[in-house]
Structure formats: C-alpha cells, structure tokens
C-alpha cells in the first residue's frame, strides 16, 4: 500500500460567519499567510521523512478553502525540497487553463523533480467555472480535448498544430519535454461512475475523494475497471487512489475530538460560501450533463455535512483513532476497495498544525509499519463482470 500526503492549505482562521462566494479578501492577512505557507510547505516536506510515498498539491480559487490557486508553484518548491516522494498534482483544473501551458509546466516539474511527477488533469468543482469565467456546460468536453492535446504536446517529437473544438494551436513544440517517457502518469478524479469511466478512457489513475460509503466507492471503482477493460487495458491497484480525512492520536477519543472540530469548521465555515455558487452552477447549467448528476453531487455534499465522525468511522470513510484503530481501518479500506494508494488529508479545516505533526509521527512510527506491505502480493483487481448476466 502506498500513501499520498494531501494538503488543501486552508486559511484556518476565517471568522465563523456566513459569507457569500467569492469571499471578500479584506480580512486576508498576507503576513500571516507567509507563515502559513511556510508551515504548510514544511509539513509537506516532512511527510517524505515520515514515510509517505507522495505529496499532493491541488488548485482552488477565490476562497479561504484553499490557498493554492496555482498548485504548480507549490509543486516546484516540493520538487526541489524533496528527493524521494512523488509529487502528485490534484490540479491543474485543465478546462480553465491553457492546455499548452499545463503541458509545459508539468514537463518542467517532471524534469525538476527527476521524473517524480504524477500529473492531475482535473475538471475542478463547479464554482471554479465562475471564477475563471468559463461555461460549466463545456467542462467535460474541454477536459477531454485538453487531456488529448496535453498528451500530444508531451509525446510529439516534431512541431504540430491542433484544430479542436475548444483549442486551436498552429505550431506547438514544448521545451522541456517530460523526463518520464512516454509521459508522466496521469491522474483524473472519479467522484461518480461517469467520471471514473472517463478516467479509464484516458488510461489515467483514478482519484476518489468524499465517498459516502465504501460500497459507493467500490461501485465507482468497478465502473472504472469495466471501462478500462472495454478500451483494452487492465488497471492494477496502483492505478486507484482513494482519499480520506485522517487523524491519529493516542486514543480513539482524542483523535475523534480533534477531527470532529476540524470537520465542523471545514463544513460550516470554509465550504459554506462556495455552496451557494455551486448551487447556481449545478441548477442553472448542464455541468454534469447527465440526469441526476447535479442532484447526486449536492446530496453527497449534504450527506457529508450532516454525518458525524461516528457515522464516518462506522462506514469506513475516515481514518480516525488510535494507531491500532487506524491500522484496522486501512486494512478494511484495502480489503473492500482494493486500492493501491490511500490519499490522507490531515489538515482538515482548523485542525491545529501541531496535531497534524503528531498524527504524522504516529502514522510513521505505529501505522505505516503495519500496513506498508498490504497488497504486496499482486492479485487481479477483480474477475471480469459478465455484463450480460441480468443487466
């Protein structure tokens, strides 16, 4: 089993009141932010020392929810301050950006890091489309076209042009090209079966977060595996990364208390402003394009906001407790989902940074040694499903 250390870089002292989105930045304190960035980057670098296999960056806009509006900047710092871990990008929000720029910057990061980059080609969450003034209805078609164009920019040895629906370039030849050949591993999000199938069609790693239950996660993974087989490739556990809020302390109760506080702050303060904007996008556009897609997304958020930590522990959707408990939870996740990567997110909302460090050290000393070899014996992901049988 491999572990990714994910960090949202939240602004963890936003006042507890309801703000509309986009959130006014009058109360943003740049001096404090300098310290915050330093702390967060140091934490990510420390994750390498603590045994994590990858450190993850992400991209969000116009909100105290996350301070990484360009994850490639943080990625560049991590590329030079770490030496072993992979640099996993849960951005770039490709439909919002110039895909050639994405290809170039990722190639730079891959070269800078000595070939340690995992390239996220993400669609983003709905309200980001307001931020960058792009039609949410086009998000999927932009993502798919941009992903093909980026791969072409990485792999084409001679100059080429591109005449697409959304992108037109008459002469492309990027410098540098990526260090990993033919190109770095691509990661795409799959928060529902449709997006998981899309990731499979791009031969990308599947990234899952916010699953409401392990059974729901399994359904998404099955959709991914089935689609991959349909288009001619076989996923391995290392192609699947599942994300969980994580908090480890001496006792289950201590961990629960810490995580509960952080999640409450995350849900009621940091995520509240963007809900209004998300609702606008989801109800006034065809962001999901499929019937029930918007409803499912909103329900998922609603459920996530109302569930207690006890609910989440029971359902296996957080890693929270003593080291012994965390080991059991990770083993359950592995057994039920078959994923080869777990994406841990320890800085939830306003969880204190010293609690985060304590969690990391307990993970290093007591959890990792017990779960490192999970899945070391490679087995088939799953027997092929006979789609004809009763479907």
């Amino acid at each position: 089993m491999k572990f990714n250390y994910f960090h949202l870089m939240p602004w963890d002292s936003f006042p507890e009141r309801v703000e509309p989105w986009p959130v006014a930045n009058a109360e943003f304190d740049p001096v404090k932010a300098t310290e915050l960035y330093k702390t967060y980057i140091d934490t990510l670098v420390y994750a390498e020392e603590c045994g994590w296999d990858a450190v993850g960056c992400n991209e969000h806009h116009f909100s105290p929810y996350g301070l990484m509006s360009n994850c490639n900047i943080i990625g560049a710092i991590l590329a030079t301050r770490t030496s072993r871990v992979k640099i996993s990008m849960f951005g770039n929000l490709v439909p919002l950006l110039n895909p050639i720029r994405v290809a170039e910057e990722y190639a730079m990061l891959d070269v800078l890091s000595g070939g340690r980059l995992i390239c996220g080609l993400m669609r983003g969450i709905p309200h980001e489309y307001i931020a960058y003034n792009l039609p949410p209805d086009e998000s999927v078609s932009r993502l798919n076209e941009a992903a093909q164009l980026i791969k072409k920019a990485w792999t084409e040895p001679k100059p080429f042009g591109w005449e697409g629906e959304h992108y037109q370039f008459r002469a492309v030849s990027i410098w540098p090209r990526p260090r990993q050949q033919p190109h770095p591993r691509i990661l795409m999000s799959g928060s529902n079966p449709d997006s998981a199938r899309n990731a499979a069609r791009h031969h990308a790693m599947l990234g899952l977060v916010f699953i409401p239950s392990l059974a729901a996660g399994r359904e998404i993974i099955d959709a991914y595996i089935d689609e991959a087989r349909l288009v001619g490739w076989e996923p391995t556990p290392e192609d699947i990364l599942c994300g969980f809020y994580t908090c480890i302390d001496e006792t289950d109760e201590k961990a629960k208390t810490t995580l509960e506080r952080g999640v409450r702050y995350m849900m009621s303060v940091l995520m509240t402003p963007q809900r209004q904007a998300q609702n606008l996008v989801l109800t006034k556009t065809r962001y999901f394009g499929t019937e029930g897609g918007a409803e499912n997304f909103l329900n998922r958020l609603k459920v996530a906001g109302t569930r207690t930590i006890d609910d989440a522990i029971r359902d296996g959707t957080v890693i929270c407790g003593s080291p012994e408990t965390a080991v059991k939870q990770i083993k359950r996740i592995h057994a039920e989902l078959g994923c080869g990567w777990i994406n841990t997110n320890l800085k939830i909302g306003n969880v204190p940074n010293d609690s985060v460090i304590k969690s990391m050290e307990m993970f290093r000393d007591f959890v990792l040694p017990e779960v490192r070899d999970l899945g070391a014996v490679r087995e088939p992901m799953r027997q092929p499903v006979n789609r004809m049988a009763g479907e």
Binding site: E145, Q148, L149, K152, K158, P159, F160, G161, W162, E163, G164, E165, Y167, Q168, R170, A171
Partner: protein, 273 residues
C-alpha cells in the same frame, strides 16, 4: 456561423491530350485583401470516389473548387495508358494547365492525398499550396488500410456520420470504387518511390490528420513530414478518416486561413476566428 449559400457544383468534361477527364466545378471567385483573385482549389478525392461535403460547400463560398473524378471511379472509364501514379499525376497537372491557367492550390484526401503528393513532386509549377488530408501511400509495416468489411469501412471513415450530406451512391458503389485505385498504385501500402521524392515538393504543405484516424497510421505521417521541405502537421480533433465530413467548419476555416495567408497562417488573426 452565418448560413452559407450552397454553391451548385456542375459536372463537366475536360478534353486533355491523354483523354477525357470528368470533373465537378462550383463556387464563387473570391479576392484577397489586395483585390487579387484567389487561386482555384483542386480537390482530389479518396478511393471511395467523389463525395461532396459541407467542407467543399463552405470553401466554395469564396473559391472556385474543381473536383476531377479519378478515371475509373464513379462510373467513369480509365484513360488509356494512364496506369500509374506518376502518369495520373501528369493528367491532373495537364488539367490544371489547360483548364485553370496553370496554377492552383491543391487539396487531396486519402488516395487523393497520395496523388496530390505525386503532382506536387513531379509538377511543382502547377501548385502554390498543398493540403494533404489523411493521405494514403505512407502505410508502414502493413498498418491501417481499407477494411474489407463494408460496415467496418464506414465505421473507420466517419466519426460523425450524421454530418454526411446525403448522396445517391450506395455503400456498395463506394466500396467498388476503392478497388479501382489499384490500377494506379498496384496495392503498394508504402510508396517508396514517392518517399524518395518528397524532398522535391517545394509547396508549403498542410498535413491534416484526424485524432481518431485508423486507416492511415501516424508513423506514415511522420515519414511524410520528415521528407517534406516545409510542412505543418495539424491534428484534427474528433475526426476519423474523412475530416471533411467530420469537421467541416473547422477544416474549411483552417484551409481557408492557409490558402489566404500561406505559412503565415500559424499567426493567429482576428480575421481567422
């Protein structure tokens, strides 16, 4: 996009020294920014015969388009003694000299792209700019090719078959056309003689390749591009073998921009949008 009035393509016959050549012609004579009349565009069709698409119609809004029927196709007879790619190229070059004043922009699709390459290599005087759309003749290691089964053939031809303009030819007629090209190329997948002469092509060449193309392998396009003096390889997103059917708006816009501005088409302009 504003509605484009459909041009009427008319069938005519050119009497050349080798024999008769049937062709279709239509479109308006347009002028460039300096008032100079655009060169006519000659379109050389693929092995399936002449299929007039929305791309032809859009391009014909300000250009005269000439579309010879490759002898043997669409019910025409072979021309005596024209039985090789080189001789067929000579026939097309003579057509340009006799009917079009000696100069054209040349666009060839699939087999027509193969033929257009030969015209450009052997008769550079008749061509200003060259467009090769998924050109045949560069199939390496037996990859690609025309599928034997009709349904599979049509699957590989069109990503968006719904964009086809109905014509009165049956699938079987189209399939029958495909065998006629052997009269000229003898079934050679990779035309080594042409590859050896690619360096003789002096016309700036736009190579359009569908991102979902299956009949013509990408490796072949690399051989082609490596041999050309000055080329622009453009990937046509969401297109299979017949780009002119799958993406008429994009493809006609691209070609118009290339024909209007030559190599400067790589510089974006408001007019090109």
């Amino acid at each position: 996009m504003a509605a484009v009035k459909k041009p009427i393509f008319k069938s005519q016959i050119a009497k050349l020294k080798q024999g008769e050549l049937t062709f279709w012609v239509g479109g308006k004579k347009g002028v460039d920014a300096d008032g100079k009349e655009h060169l006519p565009v000659v379109y050389l069709h693929g092995a399936g015969g002449l299929y007039k698409s929305a791309t032809h119609e859009l391009l014909a809004a300000d250009r005269r388009i000439y579309m010879p029927i490759i002898p043997g196709h669409d019910g025409t007879d072979y021309v005596p003694d024209v039985d090789s790619m080189q001789k067929l190229a000579g026939l097309i070059a003579d057509f340009v000299r006799k009917k079009l004043g000696g100069k054209c922009d040349l666009w060839g699709h699939s087999f027509g792209g193969w033929l257009a390459s030969w015209v450009a290599a052997l008769h550079p005087d008749v061509i200003d700019l060259l467009v090769l759309e998924n050109p045949a003749g560069y199939r390496v290691e037996g990859k690609g090719g025309i599928p034997a089964e009709t349904r599979e053939l049509f699957r590989q031809m069109f990503k968006h078959p719904e964009k086809r303009i109905p014509d009165d030819r049956t699938r079987e007629m189209v399939k029958a056309n495909a065998g006629k090209t052997r009269h000229y190329h003898r079934g050679t997948p990779l035309d080594a003689d042409l590859v050896a002469r690619l360096g003789d092509i002096s016309a700036p060449t736009l190579v359009a390749y569908g991102t979902d193309e299956e009949m013509i392998p990408l490796e072949g396009m690399r051989i082609l591009c490596d041999g050309l003096q000055r080329h622009f390889l453009i990937y046509m997103y969401d297109s299979k073998h017949c780009i002119h059917v799958d993406q008429p708006e994009r493809f006609s816009r691209l070609m118009r921009d290339f024909f209007d501005r030559g190599e400067a088409f790589i510089v974006t302009s408001a007019a090109a949008e």
